[in-house]
Symmetry: D2
Subunit: 367 residues, 4 copies
């Protein structure tokens, strides 16, 4: 297997290992081969730093000349502190480029290939394409739509409840699941909850893993009801952004601002429009958001077709209660035929719990 | 492996193949071995017919003499049209008995072994015990408690809903799951629903599989609101029993009786007590019941610790709705710490759906 | 799966459990179903005893009438102490017969089906056919060719040696492999070795497993060189048959006969023709033979295309030696292209050793 | 798993991808982490080029300072064109070093750690040690013993034959196995055969894979019987070295030298001592040798305990023949108890063939 897939797999492995540290940039890996020997490997480490191809070319040095470069994403044609990678490849004297996926951004897709081909470089596209595409599901959405990839997360009983009818919710899932959630948080740039969740649970919303990066904490709070002594306001463990409406009290806003909280006053007279929230987050270069409740916040996002992925932790428990809240409330769809179906589903056991993953499919009849 | 486990496994295989046709009797298999050769196999086929040991002894004929009999359940000491099997074993001249599990009924457990040992027959107990015990989970409860083994079944969205807020419920799960439900129905002696399910869905509640046995249909209906033209009243595909309260209208009762429906008027002045229902079913020798909704019926049974097993079919869908019914309503438990945990859980994919199986554990701290 | 395959699988399971006790008859299982309930199960236990169908019909009693019988082999049309099973099925009032495989014997194949169809019984053929055919690989050969199914067994080093150049051979394989060989012996009616193996190793050639049946011991000995005090002559643990040639000494023959050994004097003036041996064994109703060495005996059988199956135990050892004997000697084939290929191969780990199974394919270009 | 094993696994993946291109140097990978982010990756690409740590430090740049470096092998204390890596780590300001395995060379083992610890750097040893050790089985032997790691390769029938009694040998194994052999050749620095193999088969002994590196071809030929027109002499596809004895003809030697063949005249008057060959190869920095026959060459190496690994391709064929050569000839061991056992055995199916891998264990009772 010392062929295209062997080298591309190596590039993919290096790319994936950087998960969580390249936002809002994509994961990218690269390998340079010359005379049947690997002469350089590279990976994109962090936004603002050299692209994968540049690292690989630097490691290869003179040996890049005449070689073949493998890269999991189409070399860029314009951006990056280190200039267009397509040009760097050309200047390094590389004779052949093997690409997993074209740039998902329609504005620039194909431009890198064009530069390469005009320079007489042989280009092959599509090696390990599916794997490379899935690896950057977050980036692929963000770069095209300028909006974050949104993951709904819930820890629920088997009957869909996230609390009892008395609103007791500690604990539904086991420690193993909660640890997994911290990993999820680490992989997202922001975490979003409704203000009720803050009022009821006073959570930290941080990624408590050995080397976790804490996401920005985003609170939807149309009336600025958030307690001034809540942890997300006071603990300084991560940035906190509050999206509120026109009706919010100015004094409370000042108090929060003085705590270092960022306030976004949206256009709604008395409610916060989640579409506006999402658009604003995109403008702020937030490429990924994890939504953690409660049920009416989830419903707002789902009904607006804003959920890209669902991660559900089912505890093997039954709690019951007509009035116990489920993780998906709001009005709901009227017809079962209108339910949002999830595809690419998977379920795995985590400790005593079951973790479900799926991708909502909004366009019916599209498949 | 031509030893105890080999022969007991053969007895277990034959026993299990009779699933669904021996109620209210247990599944039992038997093998007789003489001079290292199998000389007879037997299995219990149907209540009222010979026990497994008798079939095996008949097949073995003269060769039973001096042999070893393997049987998945302790030979009986008294009941059965063909007399006590322990005596039949003795009279057949069998010299050794290998048993998987003792009789679960404390009143008679050990009596069969006593007869055998007093006859000088060598007895070994416990070969494949766990497997034999699980095979008869229904019978083991029924014979000890004289109450049916109750399985809760629900087809639900991921968010626990069994209908939309407009009560539309067709269809949640896929055809594959619904086919599996028909198999479940075939394995239970009775199927129980609340009258609202009949009013809303007018279901047949039959086992639509090639050679399915239709369970008795049991309806909880405190006011006899059931429509006289509902399928369970008119289609005659299986018996229908209605449990009602003292307040039920006499005329409606007569009309139902004239359709061949059986009416149980329970002690409640205006409600049907599920404990009384279960006790009555036990008296009627109903050893297994499948409960199929709706959510408040499920809740009544769960809150009374009457559910022995849960089988949940999760469709990979999200429907939402604060008022959309979940499969477990009622009041619910007040504290998350009081939730009923399920053990021995398993989850498998059926078509696009996920089938979950678990066993409620009511005694906290018991494990 | 409560359909044809469910019932046929049950019949197959019961048939297979009798492996080793039905020779020279095939393994056969049967299940009778009526009104969606199993009403009888049967299996052939031993040659000379009732066929599987008869046991199932007896267990079903009156309930056979109108039912469907599943049987892994075409019901017989003539033989058996209990008369033709096809007739017994007709007389039991069975309405449908589902068969896995037709009778492999071309002389009678289809006759059973003919009787059934002429009686207006619906017949289905081919359910689980491949599995049923493989289960009776021994019988299928024997009944057609009237010659035993022959399995070559060898325990060898990785370099094919069965002894060192000094002829030391204890032990090559581990205890686990040797235990497995005892199981193999139990499954064969006879075990065959050359006289050199007796002279060098003085083996017992018995099946040392808890309830093992000892195969008949067959020795190829053209000059009757076998020591009178060898175990196979003196221990009486199983019958011993010696195939010798015309040149064998009469006095030695008498001495052996007086020990109870059976002597077959074949036509060869000074050598024993293995084809004649095989034909004679077939006449003696020996349906299966395990050949255990040495290398020249193996070669004689292989070169005459008489090996039906090979079971090789490879010890992870290297012994070396140009003159150390391999398990396949003789002249050998002249061209590598003429090597006998084995198909349906499998290899599994047994303790430290590897057990290889394969089926020689003699007709080149046949596949 | 974003911890020690996560980072070391990434280093191991990059190290392994260089298999076949670092000889005689070991495979080594490295990762630098700072503030929970990967800031550099490196791998050793080729002997004479920078070590893995240097590449990683270069990629990390300023970010190495205060970080943790993961490296699959103890950083060197003295050798390498880029100076001691332990010193480079110190100078980069790295605060912590995590090592999979210490240097196997007893002369320098621990020296790198000593430098690091004296510089006040925290050192952790043993993360993924077993995996890192196995990855460099060739190097670990070579660096300690200054002798190549020797792999015996044979393609054989099930009965151990590598040719028929007429010496026909084409083809034993299938194309899939032969392709696998080319991969093996690519991974070894040299391939060794006896002159008879050259005379009989006139092989190329090259690695015919897309980007294969041809190993040096080594021929054992005590009398210089090698034909002057054999491919290994004339095709120039790779270097050819012949080991001969004192008795070899001087004229033939000159003819070979004029063809560019290298001649090693060993001390034996008429035979080539394999121990001397191995010592010489070690001096020539040949770290790995694949021996490909014939059977007497294999035997010489095995009897001298020089085989480190055996890779056997078994074709599912039987050829037979007392005089057909096996892949292990010579005298062989006299007692079965003296057979060389192989440990860490594995067997996998390759096309129709079975590939066996094992490691000879010469010191009995050592485990
Ligand atoms: Zn770039
Ligand atoms: Zn009984
Ligand atoms: Zn018959
Ligand atoms: Zn170094």
């Amino acid at each position: 297997m010392t062929d295209h897939t062997f080298y591309m797999d190596l590039a993919l492995q290096n790319a994936k290992a950087m998960k969580g540290q390249t936002d809002p940039n994509p994961l990218v890996g690269s390998v340079i081969v010359n005379d049947n020997q690997i002469v350089g490997i590279g990976t994109h480490l962090k936004a603002g730093e050299p692209h994968a191809e540049i690292h690989a070319i630097r490691m290869a040095g003179e040996k890049a000349k005449g070689g073949t470069i493998y890269v999991t994403l189409e070399p860029c044609s314009h951006h990056g502190r280190t200039g267009p990678c397509a040009v760097a490849i050309k200047e390094a004297g590389i004779k052949k480029v093997v690409i997993a996926t074209l740039d998902p951004n329609p504005v620039v897709s194909g431009n890198g290939v064009k530069i390469l081909e005009e320079a007489g470089i042989e280009v092959t596209i599509g090696v390990r394409e599916e794997e490379a595409r899935k690896m950057n599901e977050v980036f692929n959405k963000f770069i095209v739509e300028k909006k974050p990839f949104i993951t709904l997360k819930a820890g629920t009983t088997l009957d869909g409840k996230i609390a009892t009818h008395t609103l007791d919710s500690k604990w539904i899932t086991t420690a193993a699941s909660r640890q997994d959630v911290h990993q999820l948080r680490n992989e997202n740039m922001a975490i979003l909850v409704g203000v009720n969740t803050v009022i009821e649970d006073d959570p930290e919303l941080t990624a408590r893993i050995p080397n976790g990066r804490n996401p920005i904490r985003i609170i939807l709070d149309s009336s600025l009801r958030i307690p001034l002594d809540s942890k997300v306001v006071t603990d300084k463990l991560a940035d906190t952004w509050i999206f509120t409406s026109q009706k919010a009290d100015g004094e409370k806003e000042k108090a929060l601002l003085s705590q270092g909280v960022k306030i976004y006053r949206t256009n709604g007279s008395s409610r916060v429009d989640v579409k506006e929230v999402v658009a604003t987050l995109g403008e702020q270069l937030i490429s990924s958001v994890l939504i953690e409740g409660g049920g009416s916040v989830h419903a707002s996002f789902l009904e607006n077709h804003l959920i890209d992925k669902a991660v559900l932790y089912f505890a093997p428990k039954l709690i019951g209660g007509k009035n116990a809240p489920t993780f998906l409330e709001g009005t709901g769809f009227a017809k079962m035929a209108d339910a949002v179906e999830l595809t690419d589903t998977d379920i795995i056991k985590i400790g005593q719990d079951f973790k479900f993953i799926g991708y909502p499919r909004y366009e019916k009849g599209d498949m």
